[in-house]
């Protein structure tokens, strides 16, 4: 981490008292999806599930055991799965189609575009193993373009959850939402820190820290990193507002604009290419409403590679250290703005 230099002011040396977020135990977000789906299986008879030979990875087994007639194993055939999901909506079913993020988007873009998005079908595309934290399988499986692909489809809701509890809550919430949804989650075990009993509101930002000097807007696995960065910044007297954007589309523009009006600069953080991701959506929002210096914590138009999730987060600049550094850099830019 770089040291604070010219940005340090007396204002920033004030004592900042922060709420403490605690990790209730590392668990994967995909298990949150599985738990949410199981609950839906019990509560909503119209919910059906499809999977393309990745039941174990998507944690769908409990749903299948309890609702064997409402599960469709399609085999390694994602295009057919997306078309079938569209067809199942005709007759009132609410299909949750699950596979890895890469195969749930890039591989079947046209199927989603025509049969689901353009046709306005009530399909929930559930994408696990997104981003580089899929790990050792390498770049063939690590999609970093999926948020962009999905957010460009008219009518598609795009959600990227940050922990087990939020993923479970989101899974349950999207069943009540009429229209196509892309729900993105991941493979690694990560901190579980959001409330177990949270109400998940699609399109509503979650403010984790109130702050004055900088706004950190994070999504997915980067939210926990942003919290840690804010805590470390507070020790240096820098007050960071941290916003958890679980819904990238529709984006809670009001929350973003109001925060940046207060802080004057923003750092976005996501496990995704900086082209097409959350950062670009935030940049457009601010460019149109309240221009401000922005730094992007994201991958820089590259493919991933094999490695452990931690190694990859480090190598591709997706962790607390990078967020911290970008905040300092942006505080300098804010002075010049």
């Amino acid at each position: 981490m770089t040291e604070i230099n010219s940005v340090q002011t007396t204002e920033m040396t004030k004592k900042i008292r922060m709420k403490k977020y605690t990790d209730s135990g590392k668990v994967d977000t995909r298990s949150g999806f599985g738990a949410g789906l199981t609950e839906l299986g019990r509560s909503n008879p119209n919910v059906v599930a499809l999977c393309a030979d990745l039941v174990g990875s998507l944690k769908m087994q409990d749903f299948i055991d309890e609702n064997p007639d409402r599960f469709f194993q399609v085999g390694i055939a994602e295009a057919n799965m997306m078309g079938m999901a569209a067809g199942l909506t005709i007759g009132g079913k609410i299909p949750f189609a699950g596979t890895f993020a890469n195969f749930a988007t890039g591989r079947v873009y046209d199927q989603i575009r025509q049969s689901i998005a353009y046709s306005g079908k009530n399909v929930k595309i559930c994408a696990s193993h997104s981003g580089v934290t899929l790990g050792e399988d390498g770049a063939t499986h690590q999609i970093l373009e999926d948020i962009g692909l999905m957010k460009m489809l008219p009518g598609m809701t795009v959600i990227n959850t940050c922990d087990f509890n939020q993923t479970k809550a989101a899974t349950i919430a999207i069943a009540e939402h009429e229209g196509p949804v892309y729900l993105r989650f991941g493979r690694p075990k990560v901190a579980n820190f959001t409330p177990e009993d949270q109400k998940f509101e699609i399109g509503k930002a979650v403010n984790l820290y109130e702050g004055e000097d900088v706004t950190i807007i994070a999504t997915g696995h980067l939210v926990w990193e942003a919290i840690q960065a804010a805590e470390e910044l507070s020790e240096k007297g820098i007050s960071a507002e941290v916003i958890n954007i679980h819904t990238i589309k529709p984006l809670d523009e009001e929350a973003i604009i109001n925060s940046v009006k207060k802080t004057g600069c923003v750092v976005t953080a996501e496990e995704h290419n900086f082209l097409g991701g959350l950062g670009e959506s935030v940049a457009r929002t601010l460019a149109e409403n309240h221009p401000a210096p922005q730094e992007f914590v994201a991958t820089k138009d590259v493919f991933g590679e094999s490695g452990t999730p931690a190694q990859l987060m480090d190598k591709y600049g997706l962790n607390v250290n990078v967020i911290y550094d970008k905040v300092l850099k942006n505080l300098n830019r804010k002075k010049l703005f």
């Binding site: 007639d69 085999g75 295009a79 078309g83 079938m84 067809g87 005709i90 007759g91 049969s115």
Partner: protein, 280 residues
């Protein structure tokens, strides 16, 4: 309905097809004309369907058009079955129309349950709808239509494998076997070999309609197909048709796959298909 009345209906549909594509100087008359008897039989004789359109289509038969480019015949038959005003056919492919170049649900046109046009997706959708019917304990059937050239798209074979493997036996998928596609005959563009043997190898119950432009044959064939449903296998009909059927200079060629007639050609074509139910 008497066969003569159905033939009159089909003749009027052919006129509608020709006039739609002529007016906007674009669209696909060839395949539309070739499938006129199929649509007439399906919507007038075979399917239980409700023109008071409901997207979920519970307790009625459903139809999915996978080769969406033959929208002119679909639109004409839907309109003349009461799904929307026949006059609306005049808006085909025009700005602000519900009758898009390829069918879509996006504009709320009654009778259309999924967008199609990008080829190869309709069978998967039909399978999903068929599975929903089973979950709903709805005994009605799902019908679909596909171009033969369209089977070159790989997604079909995912769907064909799935339907047989999972005993989707409330589905009747018809292949418009006209042997033509945009760039030429299917034999020259990409030979598909023995389609009957391929479907059978995948586990389908396959039957043939030798002359898909003989209305009685199409009706009998579809009735026969219905009797084969519910027996553990999806049903495929290989229906041989002539692209451009009913207009002599459009027949037996791929030239009219995606080309509209000019004024003079329209006049000649309409003369071969005299008005029966009244033009829009």
């Amino acid at each position: 309905m008497k066969i003569k009345e159905l033939e009159n209906f089909a003749t009027q549909v052919r006129r509608d097809i020709l006039r739609q594509v002529h007016k906007v100087n674009s669209g696909h008359p060839g395949g539309s004309l070739g499938c006129t008897e199929f649509f007439t039989a399906l919507y007038k004789e075979i399917m239980e369907h409700n023109p008071d359109f409901d997207m979920d289509g519970k307790e009625e038969d459903l139809f999915f058009l996978s080769n969406g480019h033959i929208s002119p015949v679909f639109y004409s038959v839907l309109a003349r079955c009461g799904y929307f005003p026949v006059e609306e056919l005049a808006t085909f492919r025009h700005i602000d129309s519900r009758l898009q170049g390829h069918p879509t649900t996006h504009e709320g046109l009654p009778g259309v349950r999924v967008a199609s046009g990008s080829l190869g997706q309709g069978m998967s959708v039909a399978i999903g709808a068929a599975q929903a019917k089973k979950l709903n304990n709805d005994d009605h059937l799902v019908y679909s239509l596909h171009g033969d050239g369209e089977l070159q798209e790989g997604q079909n074979w995912e769907a064909i494998m799935y339907a047989a493997g999972n005993k989707v036996d409330n589905l009747i998928a018809t292949i418009d076997y006209n042997g033509q596609q945009i760039d030429g005959s299917t034999e020259t563009v990409l030979p598909m070999g023995n389609l009957k043997a391929k479907f059978e190898a995948f586990g389908w119950d396959v039957m043939e309609i030798e002359d898909g432009n003989d209305l009685q044959q199409v009706i009998d064939g579809l009735k026969e197909a219905k009797t084969r449903t519910g027996k553990g296998k999806p049903v495929c009909i290989l229906m041989t048709t002539v692209m451009g059927n009913g207009v002599d200079f459009m027949m037996h060629t791929h030239a009219w796959h995606g080309k509209a007639p000019n004024d003079e050609q329209l006049e000649t074509a309409l003369a071969q298909n005299p008005e029966t139910l009244g033009d829009y």
